[in-house]
Every structure is written in C-alpha cells, then in structure tokens.
C-alpha cells in the first residue's frame, strides 16, 4: 500500500549550529518587562517603516514631533489623559476577566451599553434637567455600571451554567449593543433627524478643568474631566480585589487551575458570573465617563474601538491593574498620534503589531532558546 522508505539513512546536519528550545524553569523578574518594552519598540520600528512607505520622508522625526506635541504642553498632556480614561477602565475590565481565563472580547459592547444606560437617565428622562449634578452624575454612574454588568452577566451565566464559549457570546453581543444604540440614536432620541441625541443638560456633564477657567486662568482650554479619577481609583480597587481579597484569591486560583479551585471548595460557577459582571461594569463605567465627560450626548462614534484596545492593554500590562494605568496612557498617546499623522491606520497598525509581538513573546517567556555548536562526529 505504501512504499518502503529508507529508514537507516543518516541525515547530515544542515547547519553548523543547533537551535535548542527548552522549557524555562524560572522566569527572571526583568524578562516580562523587557519583553513588553521590546514589543512596543518593534512595533514603532515597523510602524515607521509603514509610514515611510506611505510617503513620510522622515518617520522617526515625525514620531519625535508628535511626542513633543503630545507631552510638551499641558494641553497635550490633558488630551492624552482624556484619551487614556476610557482605556484604563476597559483595560481593567479585560484584566479582571482574563485573570480567571474568561476571554471577554465584549468590553466594546459593555462600553456601549454603559453609555446607553447613562444616557437613558438623561434622555428618557429619568431625572429632570434641573436635578443638581451631585445627584445626576452618581445616578448616571450607577446606570452605566449596572448596564455594563448586565451585558457581562449574560455571557458569564451562559458560560457558567451551559459552558457556552464566552469568546463567541461576548463578541456577538458587541453587535447587539451597537445596533441597540443605533436604534435609539437613529430613532427614539434622534435630534432633528441627525444620528445623535440632543446635547445633555449641563448638570449631566462631568466637570472639566476648563469649567474652572474663570477662577484659575491656566485651566482654560483643558479638556480633562472628572472621569479621569475613575480610572486610577478603579485600578487600585481592582488591584486590591485581585491580590489582597479572598475573592481575588479564588479568581486567580480558578484562572490558574480550575480543578484545584474546585478542590479548594470555591464556587467556580458563581465566581465566573461575578467576574464577568465586574468586567462588564468597568467597561460600562468607561462608556458613561466617555459620554458624560467628552461627547456629552449619545451618538454612534463614542468609541474608537476602546473595547478591543483594552484587550491589548490588559495583555501588555500582564493583567496587573496598576500597570494598566501606565499602558493606557501610552495607548492614549498612540491614538492621538494617529490623528496627528493623519493616516490613522498607522496607529492601528502599531497597536496590532504590539499585540502580535506580545503573543509571540509568550514563547520566549515559557521557553529558553539556546544556540549550540554541532560537534563534528
């Protein structure tokens, strides 16, 4: 049936050296950080190459100019921080879920539902326009958090009870969320046929630094809003939950070895649902912060793919909530840089390469590559 092959033929080594891969016993402390930084650098170099191909004669000079513009003035810095705000929250959302190996790809949808729920408070209206801000804003926050948590609950429940793949459900629910929003901005809340809601009343705005320009002239034109505080506060809370609380211990245990978690007597089913809800809540809060602090109305273009960028951020931060804050600022700058370049595809490209390089580097973290000479026989 099959032909006999020569079995005893000795193969000659093709190269004078041998590449050996062996599993790493202990990962040195410096390695993960080095790998993350290297991934960013590789992405910048490849991005520069792409930029050169797109017709920019001095891509690195362009990078430097953009960096100076973004970090060289208070205006630039606050713009970066405004961009970073939703990213921190969705980055945390992904970190929490990923810590339990729940692959929540639905932060984008949870973001939209959070924004929708917060808008509903204003536009239904649940609270009248005369309501003072100190009531309005907390109620909108709660609505955003509850909306996002609900959007996380559905895939969490399906996964926990029926083992439905959460990658599929969260991904699909993104589309539901976006189309649900579209229904309202095209129809119910449409302002004079435009695909957006009317502007929110002032009381529903998250206060900006610029609002205090009359008292402190330096604040004039600064877009930084109260939502920025949500991010670092949430980061500290999430860090405390994951590394200092009983619940966080259960999450990390289940993420590393679900069978051991069961053996330790934890309720995995309940934790799965709760973690997905927390993840959704954080993304929902991001949506609320974005419409309350930046857009100030409901419309279709409130997110430039924040939910998906959150995945990269969580990964780059190695799921550490505090590092998520730092990485989000970098990514905020990257998004703005994309607008500066004008060819915003480049910044997406750089993001994509960073994720790609990071996933590839997992191999280097787990294994060690040794190149040895082949001894002549």
């Amino acid at each position: 049936m099959a032909t006999t092959e020569r079995i005893d033929a000795r193969r000659r080594p093709a190269l004078p050296f041998k590449i050996q891969v062996e599993p790493r016993m202990e990962v040195p402390r410096w390695l993960p950080i080095t790998v993350s930084v290297a991934a960013v650098l590789i992405a910048l170099v490849l991005g520069a190459f792409a930029l050169r191909l797109a017709g920019e004669p001095h891509p690195f000079k362009a990078f430097a100019a953009i960096a100076k513009e973004l970090f060289g003035s208070w205006g630039g810095i606050t713009d970066v921080l405004v961009q970073a705000t939703p990213l921190i929250l969705v980055g945390l959302a992904c970190s929490v879920a990923f810590s339990m190996k729940l692959w929540n790809i639905g932060a984008e949808g949870q973001f939209f539902i959070g924004a929708f729920a917060a808008s509903a408070i204003v536009l239904t209206p649940v609270l009248s326009a005369e309501t003072p801000g100190w009531i309005f804003i907390p109620v909108m926050m709660i609505a955003g958090v509850v909306g996002g948590a609900l959007w996380g609950f559905v895939p969490g429940y399906l996964k926990a009870k029926f083992n439905v793949n959460e990658v599929i459900t969260t991904l699909m629910m993104n589309y539901i969320a976006i189309e649900w929003n579209n229904y309202f901005i095209f129809g119910v809340w449409s302002e004079g046929g435009f695909q957006m809601s009317p502007r929110f009343p002032r009381t529903a705005w998250l206060p900006r630094l610029a609002d205090y320009a009359r008292e402190i002239p330096e604040f004039s034109g600064l877009t930084l809003h109260l939502g920025l505080l949500f991010g670092p506060m949430a980061a500290v809370i999430v860090w405390w939950i994951l590394y200092r609380s009983k619940w966080g211990y259960e999450i990390r245990l289940a993420g590393d070895n679900p069978r051991a978690a069961r053996y330790a007597g934890t309720n995995i089913t309940r934790n799965m649902i709760l973690v997905m809800m927390l993840s959704g809540a954080l993304a929902g809060l991001a949506g609320m912060a974005q419409i309350g602090g930046v857009v100030r109305r409901m419309q279709g273009s409130i997110s430039s793919g924040y939910g998906f960028t959150g995945i990269i951020i969580a990964w780059l931060a190695k799921l550490n909530p505090l590092i998520v804050v730092v990485v989000s600022i970098l990514f905020g700058a990257l998004i703005l840089a994309g607008r500066e370049i004008g060819r915003s595809g480049i910044s997406m490209l750089i993001q994509g390469i960073i994720l790609f390089a990071l996933i590839a580097s997992e191999f280097l973290l787990r294994n060690r590559v040794r190149i040895t000479r082949v001894r002549e026989a």
């Binding site: 005893d8 202990e26 609380s245 009983k246 069978r259 330790a264 007597g265």
Partner: protein, 514 residues
C-alpha cells in the same frame, strides 16, 4: 528454523526519560498469531516499551527484529510500513468526519477526488473479515466509545498492520463491549494477525491471552509465561513483587468513635459508566483503613465522592454524622476532611501560584488567614514560612511557584496544607506514588502521626506492602465493589481478592476461630 521466527523480537531495550529509567534492558517476543499480554502496574514501563515498538520513542539501546529482519524505526510511519500498528488509549480521531474519512486521513490514496462510495465498500469488506461492525458513513461523534475503538483498529488494519498493539483497550469500555472486543481480537488472530495487549487487569489477561510477559519497574519479571500454566495469584505476585518491608513502628491503639461512614455508595466514572456499586465502609477515629486494589477499580471515584468532587448516584457519605456526599466540596472541607489527591499537579496544587498561595488553599476562608473580605498577607506568609520549616519543604522561598518544585517537595506542600488543619478524617490517594524512599517514609510517618492524633484515615494505595505496614484493616476493592475486609494482615487473602476472588479461603476462617 523458519518456524521459530517471531513476529516481533525486542532485545535489551533501554529507554530513559529525565530522571526515570522507563525500560531497563527489556526483552520481549511475540509469536505469529498469538495474543500476548504485557502485564504490569502503572508506571512499570509497558506503554513505553510498546511506544518504542510503534516508532514513537527511540530507545537508547537495544534491537528490534520484525519477522527476523532487524529494523530501526524513526517514526510511527516506519513502524506501520513494517506492519506494526498501535491503538492508543486516547483515540486520535476527528469527530466531525466519517469513519471512512478518518481511516483514509493521511494516506497517499485517494489522491484528489475522495471517491467515498468505493472506499466505503472496501472498508465494509474489511470490517466483515474481522467482525468489526461500524457503519463506514457514520460520523465519529455519533459512535460509542467501543465503536470508536473499532475505527482505530480498522485504521491500523487498513494500513496493513500484521502486529496490533492495544494499549489498555478495556479501560474505556463497558463490560459487554469488552466481550465484543475480545471476539474481534480472536477473529484477528484467526486471520494470522499477532496482538500485544497492554493491561494491568489480571482477569482480562487470563481470559484472552496466550502468553504473558510481566513488567515490574521497567524490567521483565522473568521470561514469558503460558497463560494456561499460570494463575492470577502467581501473576499478582510477579506484578507487585516482594519488597523489603519498611520497619515502621505502629503503636497498638484501640480505635475511637465512628468518624467516616460510607453507606452503600454508587457512582459513575468520567465516561458515565458505573465505577462504584454499593460500597460501604466505616472508619473510626484513630484508625487507618487501607483500600487495596489494582488501579482503575473505582478507588479514585470513591475518594472524589467522599470529598465532594464527584456526585454519587446512590448512598451517602457522612463525617461525624453530617452528610458530605452530593454537596459542594466546601462542605467536606468544613467538616475537616483532608484530601491528598492522586494528581498532585492537576488537582492538588495550582502550578503558577506561589507556595504561600498553595499552602492557604484550604484555610484562606477562616481567621486568622483572612479577615472579613481580605486575606492577611503578612499572616499568610508567616504561616507559610512555619509550614515550610516544619515539613521541610525545600524551595528558594515561599514565593516560588509550585510548578518548580520536585515531586517530593510538592507532596510536602500538599501534606503540610492538609495535615496542618488538624483533620478529623483524611482521604489519602496513592500518597507515596512516584516518591523516593526517604520521602515515602516521611509521608508514612505523617499518616501514622495523624492516626495517633485521632484522625480517621482512608489510605488508598496500590502498594500492598505499604498497606500492610500502615493500615489497621485492609479492604479490597474490585470492579467497584468491596470484596472483603482483612483484619490480620493476611497478605495472601488480600492478594486473592485483588485478583477478583470473592471468597476468602477457608484457612482464613480457621485461623480466626483457632
């Protein structure tokens, strides 16, 4: 002397894995048309030897002849070219494809057009020849486990296998499927095929094989035996081997109150087949009950029922009168039941978490390790440092990930965690398996300490010597049932029951009365 040429002859096979000598100068020969059983305990090197024959592993030393001609296999493909095919314990089939498609997968023919109807016919003809009934058009996921196994056999036959190696083929089968499998094996030998059957079940081996080679700890325990002229008892002795008894001093102590009560428990295994059929055992405070039996007779399922990790279909388990079976694992933990699982890395520890995190796995819910919602990290670290010293866990620090620990040290982490909670009851499954002599002694000493402290211990082990030296009573489990309980360390009686004999021989009774 052409008549004497064996189908397969293996001489002096040596196969080493990191830290383990899996095969130590093993000889094996298979005659044309026979069913040759390869018998031995887990880890005796049976599968390794056959993986060498099937071209999956390359031996460090030794030679193989097939039909008298020397061969040197580099891959399973080489082996099948020489007519040697192996059916592994875990099937390698694509669930969404049909039987025919699975069989043709990886072959050079058909080349481009599948021409499935023609191949359906060829495969149906092959099935008829060997009495293997499976619809060639059926998709794999529609088939029972037994039918899937037949597809694996067909795959090998279609590729022209003359020698078929079956690795623990009955482990996944229901009893009636075992009978069908045996009928198939016989029809294949009638067609001139030769079969190697890897097994650790004495009954099966006695029922189906022509000759038997026993492996123990990587070596052959003597030359092949004719099945007709040996007995289960003799085989059990060859399999387990007689070792020097550990001189462990065990105080004589009267057991106290009833702690663990297992009443008429039935349960299913992971495949949904019955694994336990009405097991009843009572264990008192300060008593070690040994559970003897060849692996796979329901021991691990019993341990999981007691610790709440597996539901039981009938009966119940109580600890100090409180029910723990069919309830969350948490209930058994709260009832102070310690569990030393067989699978240390898969169940008993969390590989990427630190030693500290692994040590608090059972105690993190209670004060003083946790306060309210938070875990007192400083206290947890102090607790871990204390246990690390007390149980002599050798590791760079308490922050070391547990996956970096050696088997013995990992077991110490698990023991430290389970024993430090002052357990009322202990379920220890193969606690010394795979450990070196020093570590074994440490584990055994710890179990005796717990006995002295008044714990009720269920010790599940395949090491008869261990049970004889530690246990106050030894129950024997066979195919999910308790065949009897031996109270006077009668090794022979235990051995007989391990082989499936229900009645304890008469002299047992005589000795008791006399």
């Amino acid at each position: 002397m052409p008549e004497a040429v064996s189908a397969v002859e293996m001489r002096g096979i040596v196969k080493r894995f990191p830290g383990v000598l899996a095969n130590d100068r093993v000889d094996f020969d298979l005659r044309q048309g026979e069913i040759h059983a390869l018998l031995g305990e887990n880890g005796a090197g049976k599968s390794t030897l056959m993986n060498v024959l099937a071209g999956l592993y390359r031996p460090e030393d030794g030679a193989i002849w097939v039909h008298g001609a020397p061969v040197n296999f580099r891959s399973p493909r080489d082996a099948i070219v020489h007519g040697i095919g192996m059916v592994h314990q875990h099937f390698m089939l694509v669930p969404s494809l049909t039987v025919t498609e699975n069989i043709l997968l990886g072959l050079h023919e058909p080349r481009f057009l599948m021409q499935l109807p023609a191949y359906h016919k060829r495969i149906a003809a092959l099935e008829e020849r060997f009495g293997l009934g499976v619809a060639p058009e059926a998709k794999i996921w529609q088939l029972s486990v037994g039918e899937q196994q037949r597809v694996e056999v067909l795959k090998m036959l279609y590729r022209g296998a003359e020698v078929l190696v079956m690795d623990e083929p009955t482990a996944v089968l229901a009893p009636q499927e075992v009978d069908e499998l045996f009928a198939t094996l016989r029809s294949m030998t009638a067609e001139g095929k030769s079969i190697v059957l890897i097994s650790h079940k004495l009954n099966e081996v006695m029922a189906i094989s022509d000759r038997i080679t026993v492996l123990r700890k990587g070596r052959t325990a003597g030359p092949p035996l004719d099945t007709g002229s040996t007995s289960r008892e003799a085989l059990a002795e060859l399999m387990v081997g007689r070792k020097v008894l550990f001189e462990i001093s065990k105080d004589i102590q009267a057991p106290g109150d009833l702690v663990m009560s297992i009443e008429n428990v039935s349960a299913e295994n992971d495949q949904g087949l019955p694994a336990l059929g009405g097991v009843s055992l009572q264990i008192r405070s300060g008593e070690i009950l040994g559970l003897a039996g060849v692996a796979g007779n329901g021991q691990s399922e019993l341990a999981e029922v007691i610790t709440g990790l597996r539901p039981c279909t009938a009966g119940q388990v109580t600890i100090n009168g409180k029910q723990v079976s069919n309830l969350p694992a948490r209930v058994a933990i709260d009832a102070n039941v310690a569990h030393i699982p067989m699978d240390r890395t898969g169940v008993g520890s969390s590989p990427n978490l630190s030693i500290t995190d692994n040590l608090i796995m059972k105690a993190y819910r209670q004060r003083p390790i946790s306060k309210g919602w938070s875990i007192d990290g400083r206290f947890a670290r102090r607790h871990a440092t204390k246990l690390k010293d007390e149980y002599e866990i050798i590791a760079p620090s308490i922050d070391t990930q547990s996956r970096l620990l050696s088997g013995g040290n990992l077991q110490r982490v698990i023991l430290a965690r389970e024993m430090s909670g002052k357990p009322q009851a202990i379920v220890a499954v193969q606690p010394t398996r795979g450990l070196d002599v020093g570590a074994i002694e440490g584990v055994q000493r710890l179990l005796l300490e717990q006995r002295r402290a008044g714990a009720a211990v269920l010790l599940i082990s395949e090491e008869l010597e261990e049970l004889l030296s530690l246990a106050d009573r030894i129950a024997v489990i066979y195919e999910g049932e308790i065949l009897g309980i031996v109270e006077d360390q009668d090794q022979e009686a235990v051995g007989l029951m391990m082989a499936g004999h229900r009645e304890i021989p008469a002299k047992e009774g005589e000795r008791k009365s006399g």
